[in-house]
Symmetry: C2
Subunit: 183 residues, 2 copies
């Protein structure tokens, strides 16, 4: 269970929910707070909330050149100025998962420039991807973003660019949860 | 938990163990039988045995051309003449998992011809890959092979070819378990 985390939405937690929007597909129960913990130490889903597990895993598309560029610019979660976060659980279509590796890669980067778009917003917007599909969760991924209050507009721009890509045509469920650190 | 299976080694089960060999790294407790079941319906590890879970997931390296070739030749598990099986749990090094996707693909196929080697033994040797790494198991994969008694030599040849590849330099633990259907 190394590197497995749980996102628990309920009525208490470190992160206060400022907005929650179902972008595509079924809604997720509205909650006022989200906590993130290692899966082994996380509580079960609250009765009026949810728990989504995700695993930090190896990268599935990035080439060595992209990885080197990413690592030279990206910053970790937990920076003191990062008082704002976004949690975006996503599920892709069965059609996406039936594609071969070269077809998924071509859509992900050659057509949609997923890595390149994210790179433009580094180091301001820190990002961690968690894989949920093979854990049997109702989402394939959770992406967690952290940034400062002054980068909120940049984050909206980043999301807008990603949602306009060909890759996003394969997204069948997406929830957009914005959070602020409890003060 | 869709597509998650459990391999349970103990003193009873559908498959009788004819040999068990630690090819590399730590041994696995010797058992006389192995059962395969969906994870939700599988028992816990027997006191003198083990349970390894694995997930059937999307392909990580195959291109569309390779996938089409594979699908035109491969046969499913459970064929009536497939009275012999091999279960090969493997763990790769941290160095492997730190590689970028293009580097892993280059070693897997361009250098080691993993898919091409397997293809030569289709349809005789059926094969199913289960992913275990993201489930927190002590192995990264379990591969289950099924074939007829007359294909045992061909299977040894296939394994010999794979173990001689550059990819196998990244294997740090490998157990080779041979099985026959209980008659």
């Amino acid at each position: 269970m190394r590197n497995r985390f749980a996102f628990v939405g309920g009525s208490s937690g470190k992160w206060h929910v400022t907005s929650m929007q179902s972008v595509r597909g079924d809604e997720l129960a509205p909650v006022s707070h989200v906590d993130v913990a290692t899966a082994a130490n996380a509580p079960a889903a609250p009765s009026a909330g949810w728990r989504i597990d995700g695993q930090i895993s190896n990268l599935r598309y990035a080439t060595r050149m992209e990885l080197t560029a990413l690592r030279s610019r990206q910053e970790p979660l937990g920076r003191p100025q990062a008082l704002v976060a976004a949690m975006i659980p996503i599920r892709k279509t069965a059609g996406w998962w039936d594609l071969a590796q070269d077809e998924r890669r071509a859509i992900f980067e050659d057509t949609s420039r997923h890595t390149e778009i994210g790179m433009r917003y580094l180091p301001a917007i820190a990002r961690q991807l968690y894989h949920s599909r093979d854990l049997g969760e109702p989402f394939d991924f959770v992406t967690w973003f952290e940034y400062s209050r002054s980068d909120r507009q940049a984050f909206d721009e980043l999301l807008g660019l990603l949602r306009a890509t060909r890759e996003w045509e394969f997204v069948e469920r997406e929830i957009d949860i914005r959070l602020e650190l409890q003060s």
